[in-house]
Symmetry: C2
Subunit: 223 residues, 2 copies
DNA sequence: ACAATAGTGTCTCTAAGACAATATACG
DNA sequence: CGTATATTGTCTTAGAGACACTATTGT
């Protein structure tokens, strides 16, 4: 059987871009300007460009760049959604990616931030994609440093803890949290950099160790 | 932009079928009878059939059925691999699935079982797929009941423990293991069924509770 | 000096692992 | 009865959370 013997599959990528606004997870939505579902809010997505994309991860990065201007946030493959009915144009396949960025980077863009707990009706199976992304982030937050990418660098440990608490939806023990961050070994204090200005003891500023920066390259086959 | 504006992407599924032979993880390989790589050992895989497949999970189940006769093992989406060079025919995309079956079900099939630690050179990026599957199984074995699907029912707890130990590659504490199985709550003892015949106390036989049988339907969007 | 939050030391409690005692088959 | 493995009870130990104490800033 040759490729031509099968009707073409519509191949796309969709990006669930999550960020934290006022201690609440928000998904970035975009108003569609083309059919199908023109005018509706949906996840940023687009066709895979076989001419230019090195792989679907590159497609997702390109889509994100074209639609939001963002260059290289945390970007991780989520899952692939497919079937004959999810897209009215026909049998389609969408590789969903999850991106995490600090909210400050989204200022002024065309993206609309909506709390993941109050999503409007979404076209395709975009709701399932958002739910998969939120589930993934919540799960990985329990044992990994994933939420770090929701935090603008540099940050203090109390700030980072509140990010974890927002994602997990529950308060964390301060001592345990610091022990955990210590043993993950991904953070390094910035000598002399303190968060000052408040009427109390200043907090040490931290940043990701260089080895963990820009995970675009390392997360390719991470799981 | 219309779908036709983009060169067609070659859409396939590949299945990493894992089983346990003599306490060692083995992957099932098949000798390819068509180009590319005709004659080489490779993962069972095939084109997505947009006419007949309800989604890529169905494609994977169909490929498995056609190539091995297996009906409904544990089947879970792993990741999607893509790019211009992985397939000599052109820019391609393969949704990789991981299947787990007891070795007894593979008797007499055309599949060749090879220890995952001694894979021959594989075409496409099939080696990366096997590695992703093994990593996934090892990770999930630490906290889930995934290895149960490598065990033919009914089984005894000592048998199941040895399956876990084989997958994880390390001995487990007997008391902790039984506590863990207890709290996972997926197993039920079969009243009166004992593994007899050996010169020692017989072991209770267990099986999966019905709710956890045939995970094909439940693992669709499991992660 | 006081208020407020950062950072650390220590106690307690829970859960995992080690150890060991008991149970039950076959020969 | 002896041997071998299943199953269960108990002790020990490591890690997580609670609590509280010290540190350091601005007012």
């Amino acid at each position: 059987m040759t490729p031509a013997a099968n009707p073409a599959v519509i191949c796309t990528v969709d990006v669930v871009l999550l960020t934290l606004v006022q201690d609440t997870l928000h998904a970035a939505l975009l108003r569609r300007d083309k059919a199908p579902f023109a005018g509706a809010l949906a996840l940023p997505g687009g066709y895979i460009h076989a001419q230019e994309d090195a792989d679907t991860q590159a497609s997702a990065a390109r889509v994100l760049r074209e639609k939001s201007g963002l260059q290289s946030p945390y970007l991780e493959q989520l899952a692939t959604f497919s079937g004959p009915v999810r897209d009215p144009r026909g049998w389609s396949l969408a590789v969903a990616y999850c991106a995490l960025v600090p909210a400050a980077l989204l200022e002024g863009g065309a993206l609309e931030l909506v709390p993941v707990s109050a999503l409007p009706p979404l076209p395709f199976d975009h709701r399932a994609m958002v739910e998969a992304a939120v589930t993934r982030v919540r799960n990985k937050s329990q044992y990994s440093s994933m939420p770090v990418y929701l935090c603008a660098e540099p940050f203090t440990l109390p700030q980072l803890q509140s990010v974890y608490e927002a994602v997990l939806g529950e308060p964390l023990n301060k001592v345990s949290f610091r022990r955990k961050m210590e043993e993950l070994g991904m953070l390094e204090p910035m000598p002399g950099a303190m968060q000052t200005g408040a009427a109390h003891r200043p907090a040490q500023m931290y940043r990701l160790k260089p080895a963990f920066r820009c995970s675009l390259s390392t997360s390719l086959r991470g799981l």
